[in-house]
Symmetry: C2
Subunit: 334 residues, 2 copies
């Protein structure tokens, strides 16, 4: 993707335009215009030659130029049909000093989740990692995870999917048999009969996030926020308890979905104080009984808050424990 | 340094012992014993051949075998006469998967402080970086910085130096003209006439710490805690406001000093909940008026607490601000 190619695209989007006019307007040769048009066609853009000049007739559903086209967020996009892991590629870019780059792939063959778990990433999904260099301490980096969870949730909701966030970083689609607890009225939840009776009332997993970082104890050097969204994939190709956008709401235009995610994420990182309130509004964890798997055993209690560093506060009835990391399971109310 | 060499040293330390006896006891050849004895002599150990056998007559003041000899802490030691930066070398070891290794140098030619500042590291100092792989989130890693500050402070005090900790990571020697505020009686400090009248009442800097890390937002992969102690060096070779162990208390045996630091640090990392209380007892920041330099301007107020993630709480009179990182200056009371 080049700036000139994006300029060619933008001009085509305004209506048919002849090659000579385009060349004049962009200050490049006619041969250069022709090369960019050919490259766009190779990427799947429909560019027809009419008597009025070039005409844009189709935009591909995914890819670097497609996502960058009309994107209202300050990210460069690098696209791979197949990549080992977008996070690994993003870490390379981060180590090279890059920032505000998004690595995007159709398929990962070595996708990673938290704690070095494998992450199923078949073709048709959205596998995306953003390289950031924010001036924050590592303690605040989990807020970027929460911001990405908010961004994915909002994009899913725009597509008609009833998504909520499970602490810290999973986007779930509620099981039809149960309501979503309202965090703002937490205390009444325990007796809310609408919450269903399923023992595992966690919902189906649409998306997960893996945030990695390097830095000093007072300041990160870089942060890579990786997100996997099960988009146009068959949940049967994933893992137990997974769902996908396609199975919840039909096939999506990944270009539009990624743009909404990046634009919302861009807003949130510019309004860091707004991340926690936005997250609290969208989570299905607060107010719930949860089981958190910790190195020294399971912790069961009611999730009552998140701290300003993104840690979960669990009230066991005897004490309040602050949990920085761990797998969290939503339980049905007692 | 090898385990066998440490076993040879331990045997010598128990009194004179003949080569054949040593070989038998350690299950190695007499030639191997002789090779280890020669290697120890090369490192500066005094090993004399008497009629009762080999006799240990001198231990060098610094070096890998010297520091490992009698060390009661679970660290391997790697020593360099000259190194670029012990933190850089420790990061290499961390990336290779190592843990519980200490990189030690007599001199750094590319020593680094926080925020990529240069760190003067002439021969005679203690330049040390520990490679750790604790199961903690990045938010808790600053506690390792605080633990190292406590360890250095205690070692300095054992050597008769009146050391205190300035948030977050500097070990200072109080200026003679002022008392040290007692954090346990914070509220009375503002009117404590013993605090002196120097505008910059921060004391002279003996040591600084640079903690670096890599990991996920919920779990670090590795942490490198680097510490520089101005030991047997001339403060005139350092920077304005620096002091050294030599100028405060005379030349020190760096071997003993490093052992005390590593042993205390080892204790504290095994008792993570004890770090903050120990730090609070040794800091000269709490209860003080401070100026903290932040990206969006200076913050002036009274330092009232540290959080469980090592952040400083500053009471400006109008609000309480939580500061994760920034240069902190001690001010005289108003």
């Amino acid at each position: 993707m080049t700036d000139t190619r994006q300029a060619v695209l933008a001009a085509l989007a305004d209506g048919p335009v002849t090659g000579p006019t385009l060349a004049d307007r962009l200050g490049v040769s006619r041969a250069a215009v022709w090369k960019h048009v050919e490259a766009l066609r190779d990427e799947g853009f429909g560019v027809e030659s009419t008597e009025d000049g070039y005409e844009l007739t189709a935009i591909p559903e995914y890819g670097a130029d497609a996502v960058a086209f009309g994107l209202d967020a300050s990210f460069d996009v690098e696209y791979h049909d197949t990549v080992g892991s977008t996070n690994d590629r993003a870490r390379e870019l981060a180590t090279d000093g890059r920032e505000n780059v998004v690595v995007l792939a159709d398929r990962q063959v070595g996708g990673r989740g938290r704690r070095d778990r494998a992450w199923e990433s078949p073709s048709g999904g959205i596998w995306l990692s953003a390289v950031l260099r924010p001036d924050i301490p590592p303690a605040r980096a989990p807020l970027l995870t929460l911001a990405m969870a908010v961004a994915v949730t909002d994009a899913a909701r725009e597509h008609g999917v009833d998504a909520t966030i499970k602490w810290p970083n999973d986007v779930l689609v509620s099981n039809a048999s149960e309501g979503t607890p309202d965090a703002s009225s937490g205390d009444s939840l325990v007796s809310n009969a609408n919450e269903g009776t399923s023992e595992d009332s966690g919902g189906r997993k649409l998306s997960g996030i893996l945030t990695e970082m390097e830095g000093e104890s007072g300041r990160v050097s870089w942060v890579v926020v990786g997100v996997g969204v099960n988009a146009n994939v068959d949940p049967g190709d994933l893992y137990e308890g997974a769902t996908s956008l396609r199975s919840e709401a039909g096939r999506v235009d990944r270009r539009v979905f990624v743009q909404r995610v990046l634009e919302r994420f861009d807003e949130l990182r510019d309004d860091f104080d707004g991340v926690l309130p936005a997250w609290r509004e969208r989570t299905s964890t607060l107010g719930r009984r949860v089981r958190v798997h910790l190195p020294d055993g399971d912790l069961v209690g009611r999730a009552v808050d998140v701290t300003e560093t993104g840690a979960l506060v669990v009230d066991t009835g005897e004490e309040r424990r602050v949990v920085h990391a761990g797998d969290c399971e939503h339980l049905r109310p007692v």
